[in-house]
């Protein structure tokens, strides 16, 4: 599947296209299929996202998982500071990245 990701213009936070808006959680991301360029052009022009691009991902019973480790780290947060990730209370969160 193909996801869209970028950064919030003001906060710089990593965001994911959920079909309606940009979410902080990769689990909300949808498969944009062949519509990546159209959505990116529209959303970037409206400044709802910054420096956005499409990535490859997969989906299983545990949810959406970007194909590349870099995108998984973007999705979670730094593996060396679990307290600063989106799942600070989940000690196994880092395993999802690796």
């Amino acid at each position: 599947m193909k996801l869209l990701t970028g950064n919030d213009l003001k906060s710089g936070a990593v965001t994911w296209w959920d079909g309606v808006q940009w979410s902080l959680h990769v689990g909300d991301a949808i498969d944009v299929g062949d519509h990546a360029d159209t959505i990116l052009a529209r959303e970037s022009a409206a400044r709802r996202v910054n420096a956005a691009y499409a990535i490859e991902a997969s989906k299983d019973e545990n949810g959406v998982r970007p194909a590349h480790i870099k995108e998984r780290i973007r999705a979670l947060g730094p593996t060396v500071r679990p307290d600063l990730t989106l799942k600070p209370a989940d000690p196994a969160a880092g395993q999802w990245v690796i």
Binding site: G12, S44, K70, I73, R74, T79
Partner: protein
């Protein structure tokens, strides 16, 4: 602020203040849509604002690594007020904040300007922050304090109209000792201040060094440039690069490639021609300006008659003294390195509270001065020996008393894939695992400089590590190459790759094997590097892959 470092004059302050307001307007125009990201990106980068993996990152310049207590305190306050309570000290002697919001960036720059700091030229293809010896002004072996010369370079290079759009970024280091503590020959220009046979000070110019994709050791192109001509000579060296440096290929655009392709002799010839041309144009700043700057770096008022004795009855303190303190030029004083490498910690990170504590300790114990080292530690340069124990206790209580300077736990590591958008692999977890694995042996191993980069750009200086590690992307998974034999000192050498790479746990095992071979093979008094140079790569390959 103390009087022992450069203070902004009204021109400096007005320049920095104006830059803050200019950037505030640029940010406003970006947010309201008058600037696209393509238009805005070069503007934010000129102010040190990057977009990294998780957020905007702000890189703040620390000129030649020197900070006052007030400045370090402000850096801690910024970490709390605008970031997530910490900062990362870098191999360029700067500090980076990882969680910056765009609309707050101008306010941060305004806060920095209040303590005579900025983020100008911490990115882009310009002359970057000049680095120097962290013991400048304190070292017993220096011919002079190199910082006034670095400050003059800062003033000359800031907003230099001819050198704001060079083929690539450009880094200068200035030292004044035979012992190179700034990786001087791995810079685009390395300047060593030397004294000639007549007793006069001048500058030896090394040009064309660097790490990154194509590591090179800078050759000496001019052994002595008089002090009243050294800016002119630097201008000539830059001008030849700006004219002929390759702009068609960013991977071949650094000056090291130009010097290599032209050859040292031809490059030097062209610089000499340009130098002669520039000399008659009188572009050199007047010596009075250099003297004005030098006066601001006057020695502190060192007490006289102090004892050099230390009470070493506390073994933990004695160990720390032996590892982290070096001889000072003034009797009764010592230079202290505060390790930002606790076992299992993140190299170079300091919390806001730790920054403010170090600021206070600098004010109390070190004439209000601190230095950031290129090895991502902090130095208090001028500490009275009779106050050293009290200082150590305060540091130790704050988790800043790790006794591992230049040991295997004192690892240089770039932010790597945990933070950096350029990285291919994580650096920090590897550093943490190696530090933990070898902690019990690090005193036995002795000096071993281990440096880790998460990509070929080599921000972690892996080429210059006695043991270097380079993280690469191998089909979407992290892989780590091992290098041996690098060195950044006066005997600069580049590390050589041992062979096939390792996964994350494998590289930790490999480092342990290399250190075990060293321990079993070393001759009396040999460091790891000495043993490697004596026995060569083959035994290490056998231990790693045999």
């Amino acid at each position: 602020m103390g009087n022992l470092m450069y203070r902004y004059d009204t021109y400096d302050q007005a320049t920095v203040d104006a830059r803050v307001e200019e950037f505030r307007d640029q940010v406003r125009r970006r947010i309201d849509g008058h600037l696209t990201e393509d238009q805005f990106k070069p503007l934010r980068l000129m102010n040190g604002l990057y977009l990294q993996l998780h957020a905007y990152m702000l890189r703040v310049a620390v000129p030649y690594g020197t900070l006052s207590g007030a400045q370090m305190h402000a850096l801690g306050d910024i970490a709390d007020k605008y970031d997530r309570g910490y900062g990362h000290f870098t191999t360029r002697q700067n500090i980076q904040y990882n969680w910056i919001k765009l609309d707050q960036a101008p306010d941060i720059l305004a806060d920095l300007a209040k303590v005579e700091m900025h983020a100008i030229q911490t990115s882009g293809n310009c002359i970057r922050n000049t680095s120097s010896d962290q013991y400048a002004g304190a070292a017993a072996d220096e011919v002079t304090d190199p910082r006034p010369y670095a400050e003059l370079i800062r003033q000359w290079s800031t907003f230099h109209p001819e050198f704001s759009y060079l083929p690539r970024k450009f880094k200068i280091a200035v030292i004044a000792s035979e012992t190179d503590r700034a990786a001087m020959r791995l810079h685009d220009i390395g300047i060593q201040i030397v004294r000639n046979d007549a007793g006069e000070l001048g500058c030896a110019f090394y040009v064309g060094g660097g790490m990154g994709r194509t590591p090179m050791i800078a050759p000496l192109i001019k052994p002595f440039v008089p002090l009243d001509q050294f800016i002119t000579y630097a201008e000539a060296a830059l001008r030849v690069y700006n004219r002929h440096g390759r702009r068609d290929n960013k991977y071949k655009a650094r000056i090291k490639i130009l010097v290599h392709e032209l050859g040292k002799d031809e490059y030097t010839r062209q610089v000499e021609t340009e130098f002669a041309h520039l000399l008659v144009q009188n572009i050199e700043p007047p010596l009075a300006e250099l003297e004005r700057i030098k006066a601001q770096f006057a020695d502190p008022k060192f007490e006289t008659g102090l004892s050099d004795d230390l009470d070493r009855s506390d073994p933990d303190f004695a160990l720390w003294v032996d590892n982290n303190c070096v001889r000072h030029k003034a009797p009764g004083y010592i230079a202290v390195t505060i390790s930002l490498k606790p076992i299992g910690g993140i190299p170079g990170d300091a919390s806001a509270d730790q920054m403010r504590l170090m600021a206070g300790l600098a004010t109390q114990y070190s004439f209000d001065e601190l230095r950031v080292t290129h090895a991502q530690n902090i130095v208090l340069p001028h500490v009275r020996k009779d106050q050293l124990y009290a200082l150590w206790q305060a540091l130790d209580d704050a988790g800043l008393g790790t006794a591992n300077l230049d040991l295997v736990g004192d690892i240089i590591a770039c932010p790597g894939l945990d933070y950096c958008s350029l990285a291919n692999a994580r650096s920090i977890p590897v550093a943490q695992k190696i530090g933990q694995r070898l902690a019990a042996k690090e005193q036995e191993i002795g000096e071993l400089k281990l440096k880790i980069s998460g990509c070929i750009n080599a921000c972690g200086h892996h080429h210059a590590g006695h043991i270097g590690i380079l993280g690469v992307d191998r089909k979407g998974t992290e892989n780590y190459q091992l290098l041996l034999g690098g060195c950044e000192g006066a005997d600069t050498s580049l590390g050589q790759i041992t062979g096939p790479g390792f996964d994350e746990d494998g590289i930790v095992d490999a480092v342990e094997k290399a250190t075990e071979l060293y321990l079993n093979t070393r001759a009396e008094g040999e460091r790891f590097l000495d043993t490697y140079r004596r026995i060569g790569m083959a035994p290490f390959k056998e231990a790693l892959y045999g």
